[in-house]
């Protein structure tokens, strides 16, 4: 299963760092897996727990929030707040039996194109190893059963 499984990954990227780093990766022709779907946000502090949860509920196998390096947030503490929210979501996922590793907080600067690409590769690989999200797998199976 894990040989053919291609995870769906949502990355909430801060406009001032990770999104620009993704741009940098593109300019440098550094490839990263197409599994990662980027959502640009003005600051990771804008990412609420519900955004992460909805992404997982609607079919993402993994979600990461990519913000500025600690101390470098354009809005001072947005990335710190985001890290707290990610931890909260991880705890909630654990409570409902979903692997908390499916959600992660990552930091980088705007110039780190290589790091953006590496992060995307590493996270995709991690989720590939974890396998499909138990949420979507069960829902898909139950739909299949209903059709047959």
């Amino acid at each position: 299963m894990s040989d053919t499984f291609e995870p769906e990954i949502v990355a909430f990227c801060c406009h001032y760092c990770a999104y620009t780093a993704a741009d940098m990766a593109g300019s440098k022709r550094i490839s990263y897996p197409p599994n990662v779907k980027i959502i640009r946000v003005p600051c990771t502090g804008k990412v609420d727990a519900i955004h992460i949860m909805k992404a997982l509920e609607k079919g993402a196998d993994g979600v990461y929030v990519a913000g500025c390096l600690e101390g470098d947030c354009h809005f001072k503490t947005g990335n710190i707040r985001a890290a707290h929210r990610v931890r909260r979501v991880q705890a909630l996922l654990e409570e409902i039996g979903v692997e908390p590793q499916r959600v992660e907080m990552i930091t980088m600067s705007a110039g780190m194109g290589e790091r953006f690409a590496k992060t995307a590769r590493d996270f995709t690989e991690k989720i590939r190893q974890l396998g499909p999200s138990p949420v979507t797998t069960a829902a898909r199976d139950s739909r299949r059963r209903a059709v047959s």
């Binding site: 519900i50 949860m53 909805k54 509920e57 909630l92 409570e95 409902i96 979903v98 949420v135 829902a139």
Partner: protein, 222 residues
């Protein structure tokens, strides 16, 4: 405000598991301010429940609603049509809200999704502390604005006790000794002589010792 914390998911899931259609109701008042049961928390809990039941291969119909004030029959009336389409109600309000719904919609099972904790104040973002126990006979006027009932672990009316060390309580070094705080405050106000006034034994009949309490305002009651 009345503070609350969400119950463990396991407990919430056990309550709603037998049903297919849930009405999840939040409250815009206290529990919203202490981030336990407002619109955001309702959405988050609904999403977590959806995911849990999807994982089990079950489709759970969860309708989200957040009332202006769940402890007020006037607002609880707004649920009248939504309740019909639900097998059970899951409330994220304090115990007062849960009971107001239970009293109005007698035929529907109502479950609390939060544990109502205490009457408290916000210390800073994300931190709330107990400040009042609703004793019904406020002494803040003579204790420098610091409540010995809510903030002294022993509810001493004439403190401090021997367990006060360097301004901290013997039960936990993170808890301030209320009587130290009272002393400091009275001193700052130039009223330190008051600490020697002996407070007589408190009449707890105005508190819970008098049974469930009720306020009737003749000028307002109809």
């Amino acid at each position: 405000m009345i503070t609350a914390v969400r119950k463990p998911m396991e407990e919430i899931i056990a309550c709603v598991e037998p049903y297919d259609r849930i009405l999840l109701v939040g409250c815009n008042e206290c529990v919203s301010v202490c981030s336990a049961g407002g619109r955001k928390e309702v959405a988050l809990l609904a999403s977590a429940l959806h995911m849990h039941f999807m994982k089990q291969g079950k489709t759970m119909d969860i309708r989200e609603m957040t009332l202006e004030r769940q402890c007020d029959p006037e607002y609880v009336e707004e649920l009248v049509t939504s309740v019909d389409g639900a097998d059970a109600v899951l409330s994220m309000a304090c115990g007062c809200g849960v009971q107001t719904i239970a009293a109005r919609y007698r035929e529907k099972p109502v479950f609390p999704a939060v544990n109502t904790t205490f009457m408290g104040a916000s210390e800073r973002q994300g931190v709330w502390s107990e400040r009042c126990q609703g004793c019904g006979d406020c002494v803040l006027g003579i204790t420098g604005g610091i409540c010995p009932i809510a903030r002294c672990s022993k509810r001493l009316m004439n403190g401090p006790c021997g367990g006060s060390t360097k301004g901290k309580c013997e039960i936990d070094a993170n808890i301030d000794c209320a009587w130290q705080l009272i002393w400091d405050r009275l001193k700052a106000l130039g009223l330190e002589r008051r600490i020697e006034d002996i407070m007589e034994a408190k009449d707890w009949r105005t508190s819970r010792d008098g049974g469930p309490r009720k306020i009737i305002r003749e000028d307002l009651a109809s």
